[in-house]
């Protein structure tokens, strides 16, 4: 098509301006799609903090609260679950596995999680990944601990170091469990989830540090129990905070949820993590919207750059338009010529932008995961991306109408007289 080839050659003739315009549109598009990838990645990272768990059970209370203190290690539980109840549920025929969590202590601001081997074996995040040890092994005895990678990195601990845990979430000091220090036997590999920000001990360890603390305060001087004197009976856990559960068949999940909520011996509740996570995420939806708005404005600025680039050439091209008029090209063809130019700029900008974004995401993936704990990835080309690009191209044509319309008017006004 003649107009297409004319538009192409004309753009090529002004290659520096053309290149700059294309690059500016490409950067806008890359940023728009990058923000979109970031948004979806953030949502994915968030919702894949926990995978493979069908139910989270704890003492009856707020479901959101239960989610926060089990998965995100935020907030505190108001009530405990009797260990006997936990044992009963863990042996339920419909249950595949359970992971007990005993929470409430901390080490220099990091939460302590008392759990058992099931955690290392069954816990999953980002669909199939499980906690793995960068060095050492899982704690097996009541005075052994493992660290999440952030804890180890922040506090500079190595395997073999001894740590003292603190009762509650306060600063180290009077509430220290200094009668029972822990030896670090393992450090977990980075997961970019809240796992990294916790200290892991055994359920027995959790019992051990609380012997004599039944009143919630340190034992009176003289009543401390030395770790060496602890009996097996004293180490037996009496209560946990919550437990994660996987049912053998998905069909059982809803029934188990109902049964746990109706459990007679003590008031419990169970939540489905995916549902609760969805509710939680919807509360931060405004942040997503803010990202989308920023992306939209970035594209607008890029397109205004195109408007300026085409508009500034209008006067010097009046001669060209008069020649085309003399050769029988009507004003509508001139209009079309300019619109095709806008279209070419927008299309090549979009193509380059997609390339920039995909390679940019690939290049930044590791850095972002390490620095921000966010697994950034390009989710592949989806329908909404096509819609975004369609909107960009349509907006480019709309903005391109301004110089095109000016060219059309010039053409009619100038006729065959060559201005400039």
């Amino acid at each position: 098509m003649l107009l297409l080839s004319l538009a192409w050659k004309s753009l090529r003739n002004r290659r520096v301006t053309t290149l700059l315009t294309v690059v500016s549109i490409a950067l806008s598009v890359a940023l728009l799609l990058g923000v979109e990838a970031l948004r979806v990645s953030a949502r994915e990272s968030f919702s894949s903090t926990i995978s493979g768990t069908d139910l989270i059970a704890g003492a009856r209370g707020g479901g959101l609260q239960l989610l926060l203190y089990t998965v995100f290690r935020m907030g505190t539980a108001t009530n405990n679950v009797k260990y006997s109840s936990y044992e009963e549920w863990s042996k339920h025929p419909a249950v595949a596995w359970t992971i007990p969590y005993s929470l409430g202590d901390s080490h220099r601001g990091f939460r302590v999680v008392g759990t058992n081997q099931n955690f290392y074996e069954h816990y999953r995040f980002r669909k199939t990944r499980k906690p793995e040890f960068a060095s050492g092994r899982a704690p097996a005895s009541f005075n052994e601990a493992a660290l999440g990678s952030d804890v180890a990195a922040k506090l500079g601990y190595q395997v073999g170091a001894k740590v003292v845990l603190t009762h509650g979430m306060g600063a180290a000091g009077i509430m220290d469990h200094d009668d029972n220090p822990f030896t670090i036997v393992g450090i977990l590999a980075k997961t970019a989830t809240p796992i990294d920000r916790s200290v892991y001990i055994t359920l027995e360890g959790m019992s051990a540090i609380h012997v004599g603390w039944e009143g919630g305060a340190p034992p009176e001087p003289g009543e401390e129990v030395s770790a060496k004197k602890l009996t097996a009976e004293q180490l037996r856990p009496e209560a946990i905070t919550a437990f994660l559960l996987r049912s053998k068949s998905r069909i059982d999940t809803l029934r188990l949820q109902r049964d746990i909520s109706n459990y007679l011996p003590e008031p419990l509740m169970a939540i489905i993590p995916g549902v609760a996570m969805g509710e939680l995420w919807s509360t931060v939806r405004y942040a997503e919207i803010a990202l989308e708005i920023v992306g939209g404005f970035v594209v607008l600025v890029g397109l205004l750059g195109m408007l300026v680039a085409i508009y500034t050439t209008l006067n010097e091209r009046r001669r060209e338009m008069a020649i085309l008029r003399a050769l029988g090209a009507g004003p509508v063809k001139i209009l079309a010529l300019f619109l095709i130019e806008s279209l070419l700029l927008a299309l090549s900008g979009c193509a380059l932008g997609v390339g920039l974004m995909v390679s940019g995401v690939a290049a930044l993936q590791n850095l972002v995961e390490q620095q921000f704990g966010l697994y950034l990835r390009w989710q592949g080309f989806q329908e909404e991306h096509a819609i975004y690009l369609g909107i960009v191209v349509a907006a480019a044509l709309l903005i391109g109408l301004v110089p095109a319309w000016r060219a059309y008017r010039n053409t009619l006004a100038d006729g065959l007289s060559v201005k400039v």
């Binding site: 029988g328 090209a329 006729g415 065959l416 007289s417």
Partner: protein, 229 residues
């Protein structure tokens, strides 16, 4: 008005035109005629309405009154897009200067009318180019050419596809006198051999003797006598 056996290339009668209804008319012409295949020198100093007259004949402007008949067609009866197509198919046009699209090669510039309108055939490009002495330049960029070469390329473009009417608007004013004479001889010879009528407008009356017919626009245009733009 025009007899079918010997049709006029251009026949204007009682034409009045003004850019704005509040301002006086720029063109007020009783009669202007150019026969088929005829070469005509139209003397027109600046400000006598010659660009306007050429716009009327080329169908870019529309007369307010009278009849504008070009190559046997009544332009006033055509829609503006029909007139655009008619101009592109039937009229070769040469400007005073800067005739060429800067980002196209010489060859593409010359072939442009044939690509816009199927009625203009691309045949004879080599012959026209070699007669005008621009055959070696065909694949060059137009910005490398001298002004004289550019005007010859413009002439080739006006002549390609053998349009029955060629309009030249001061095509030689940018050339020095030696080139002017040579260019004009080439243009006249080419028009003659193609059987095209040539309407040549200039303020330089020294060129007039080369033409079969000589007219003066200020004499024809009643509007220019009262109003000097």
């Amino acid at each position: 008005m025009s007899s079918p056996t010997n049709p006029s290339s251009v026949l204007l009668a009682g034409v009045r035109f003004g850019y704005n209804s509040k301002l006086p008319d720029v063109i007020d012409l009783d009669r202007f005629e150019l026969s088929a295949g005829e070469s005509c020198f139209l003397y027109g100093p600046s400000g006598c309405g010659k660009t306007t007259l050429l716009g009327l004949i080329a169908g870019v402007l529309e007369a307010r009154q009278g009849s504008v008949n070009v190559l046997g067609k009544d332009l006033r009866a055509m829609s503006s897009s029909k007139r655009d197509a008619f101009r592109g198919s039937n009229i070769g046009y040469i400007f005073q200067m800067f005739n060429l699209i800067p980002y196209l090669s010489v060859r593409d510039n010359i072939l442009l009318p044939t690509r816009l309108h199927s009625a203009r055939k691309a045949e004879g490009l080599e012959a026209i180019a070699s007669t005008l002495g621009i055959a070696p330049l065909l694949d060059r960029g137009v910005l490398e050419l001298s002004v004289g070469q550019q005007q010859r390329v413009a002439a080739a473009r006006a002549l390609i596809g053998a349009p029955p009417l060629v309009i030249a608007d001061e095509p030689t004013s940018a050339l020095d006198s030696a080139h002017r004479q040579r260019f004009l001889e080439l243009l006249l010879a080419q028009c003659k051999s193609a059987g095209a009528a040539l309407l040549f407008v200039s303020h330089d009356q020294s060129l007039a003797p080369l033409f079969e017919k000589r007219l003066s626009l200020p004499d024809l245009n009643r509007a220019s006598r009262t109003e000097v733009a």
